[in-house]
């Protein structure tokens, strides 16, 4: 039997570098104009997880993002690290989409490709951080899902992944087509190479509009998003009295804390 090359798709989102983000107080959307952008950290790990499978098996890796054209250099960066192909879904109509239309649009592009075996997403982004898009895509394309994973391997039509949960590590096995969401810091992303960068420049980026993936414009965007950001509120400040304690008074403070049961001093 001839094994066809695996098709792996990595979803990436370009996010503002944490320290410089703020939410526009008028439109309630992220104001990116002041911030430098980066590839969402977990997505770098997702790309690396896909490339590690490609190191072992005959596979094609496609990176994809739904974003304005400013994302192009980041797609090029992914190809310079080893992705074979880059797809930009770009359409004015998607602006303001919440996670439902975002998942729908990404899923439609995956369906258009037709032959996708494994989709890699980040566990969550560093900006709005919902973690909805990976599971949402799995639901739309009808794939099995292993969320919050690290150490993903592929063999004979099955993906094995270690899901890191609050109380332990669960090892699961799911058949393809599969979606895995990858934990931040779960591997060491490789660097770009000059040769791959030159290759990437030759290949270029594939751009699709909504029409290319058969999504009507009125299915997406702010107006077709179930959730709406209504207002911004000040951070809930629970101010406390902030009583100043001199170093010499620490023994007294400890006595009070022991007396009120906040600290328990057990005998050794």
């Amino acid at each position: 039997m001839i094994e066809l090359a695996l098709h792996l798709v990595v979803l990436i989102k370009v996010v503002p570098d944490g320290k410089e983000v703020f939410v526009d107080p008028v439109t309630f959307t992220l104001n990116r104009s002041m911030a430098t952008n980066i590839i969402n950290p977990a997505d770098e790990n997702a790309l690396e997880a896909a490339l590690q499978i490609k190191d072992q098996t005959d596979a094609k890796v496609t990176v994809m993002t739904m974003a304005p054209p400013f994302a192009e250099p980041f797609l090029m960066e992914c190809m310079s690290r080893g992705a074979d192909e880059a797809v930009l879904i770009s359409d004015r109509a998607v602006a303001g989409s919440d996670t439902y239309p975002t998942s729908l649009t990404v899923a439609a592009a995956i369906k258009k490709m037709g032959d996708v075996d494994i989709v890699f997403a980040g566990e969550k982004t560093s900006d709005s951080s919902t973690g909805h898009v990976g599971p949402g895509v799995a639901e739309f394309i009808g794939a099995e899902l292993a969320s919050y994973s690290r150490k993903v391997t592929y063999e004979n039509g099955y993906v094995t992944a270690e899901r890191e949960l609050e109380n332990g590590i669960e090892e699961v096995r799911i058949p393809t087509p599969a979606v895995v969401t990858i934990l931040t810091d779960s591997n060491d992303p490789r660097r770009a190479t000059l040769r791959k960068k030159i290759d990437a420049m030759k290949r270029g980026i594939i751009t699709w509009s909504l029409a290319d993936i058969n999504i009507p414009a009125d299915w997406v965007g702010l107006r077709s998003s179930p959730t709406v950001v209504k207002k911004m509120l000040p951070f809930p400040r629970k101010d406390r009295k902030g009583e100043k304690i001199e170093k010499e008074k620490i023994p007294e403070l400890i006595d009070n804390l022991v007396k009120s049961g906040v600290i328990r001093v057990e005998a050794e």
Binding site: F140, V229, P236, K244
Partner: protein
């Protein structure tokens, strides 16, 4: 599997009534996060005078259903099968979605554990509704039956209020630790219905090969936490933090940059992208008190700040403030506590 379609709002939202709470469990027990959500659901149910409906899925659910009723659910639906002893994304989504279609709740809240977030995100797509993640506040407006969900932002000092006005159910998750536990009432009456489920092969394609419980401490259950920030200056500073924590039988926490630098494991990070803790005592040493850290610890009972800078933001969120170098202050705490231990030993 969801239809590839836009999210269609129902024609008549007034048909949707009640607050549904998904009850996340582990090894046959409801999680703490599930109990927190029962408390949130109960409060909203009282406000709008609609039932609080619990849904629990597992291999043996009877005692969990009782637990949910005694903590505040009016109706509890349990789904039982040997194949459901551990969370599996597809069958759990199938069951929760079918309950949404059957009961038509106005609101559905889900504990924001990892499995809970997985389930909520899939279910929102399946039932074509909106989901707000990581809410710090969840409430309902009685006049309109609209869910008010508030989540922290990325930048400094703001929270967004998110609403899902047209679609139902209005969904939200919250990080574990965000809310207090509701009161337990042994005598509370509630309706319980356990249903046995037969799953089809195509619902069970996910196979769980193994589960290894995580060693190490869970900082969300510690009564005392001593946390260190960048003010430690180096990775070795953590030793002092740990020493003070262990003398009080507690554990240690850190800020995000400390975890980023690899000075401490990510499991110990407190804050918006770490854990939410509410210990009896929280000592913040060398921590400036940025909002993303504060959201993770602001419900601690007593907070002590140790900082070189007398005007650091953390002072506003602290009961007691000790101005000085943590390398001079923390050893005083350690010595004093040691003295008291020795005295106890003698007695």
């Amino acid at each position: 599997m969801a239809e590839m379609k836009k999210a269609e709002p129902p024609k008549d939202v007034s048909q949707y009534k009640g607050i549904m709470v998904y009850l996340d469990s582990f090894e046959g027990k409801l999680t703490r996060a599930a109990h927190e959500m029962i408390g949130v659901g109960r409060k909203m149910a009282d406000k709008v005078k609609e039932p609080c409906i619990g849904v629990v899925i597992g291999d043996k659910v009877d005692s969990m259903a009782d637990d949910a009723g005694k903590y505040g659910c009016d109706e509890v639906y349990g789904f039982e099968s040997h194949d459901l002893s551990m969370y599996r994304s597809r069958p759990f989504t199938d069951i929760l979605s079918s309950m949404v279609f059957e009961k038509k709740p106005n609101i559905l809240i889900v504990p924001g554990t990892k499995n809970g977030r997985d389930l909520a995100a899939r279910t929102a797509v399946r039932v074509q509704s909106g989901l707000t993640a990581d809410c710090m506040e969840i409430d309902v407006e009685p006049e309109t039956d609209i869910l008010i969900a508030r989540r922290p932002d990325y930048g400094d000092s703001t929270m967004s209020e998110i609403r899902c006005e047209k679609h139902r159910p209005q969904m939200a998750t919250s990080r574990p630790g965000t809310f207090d536990l509701p009161p337990y009432d042994e005598k509370r009456s509630f309706k319980k219905e356990i249903r046995k489920v037969e799953l089809k092969k195509d619902q069970l394609r996910e196979e769980i090969l193994s589960f290894k419980p995580k060693g190490g401490e869970d900082i969300t259950v510690s009564k005392v936490l001593v946390s260190g920030g960048l003010g430690m200056g180096n990775a070795d500073g953590l030793k002092l933090i740990e020493q003070l924590a262990s003398i009080m039988g507690g554990s240690y926490g850190v800020t995000r940059p400390v975890a980023d630098l690899g000075w401490a494991p990510r499991d110990h990070q407190v804050g918006q992208t770490g854990k939410i803790v509410r210990p009896d005592l929280y000592i913040a040493a060398g921590i400036s008190g940025k909002p993303q850290h504060i959201v993770g610890m602001m419900d601690s009972k007593t907070v002590i700040a140790v900082n070189k800078d007398p005007d650091a933001e953390i002072t506003r969120y602290s009961d007691y403030v000790i101005n000085g170098d943590l390398y001079e202050i923390l050893p005083v705490f350690i010595e004093e506590l040691k003295k008291r231990k020795k005295m106890k030993d003698k007695n």
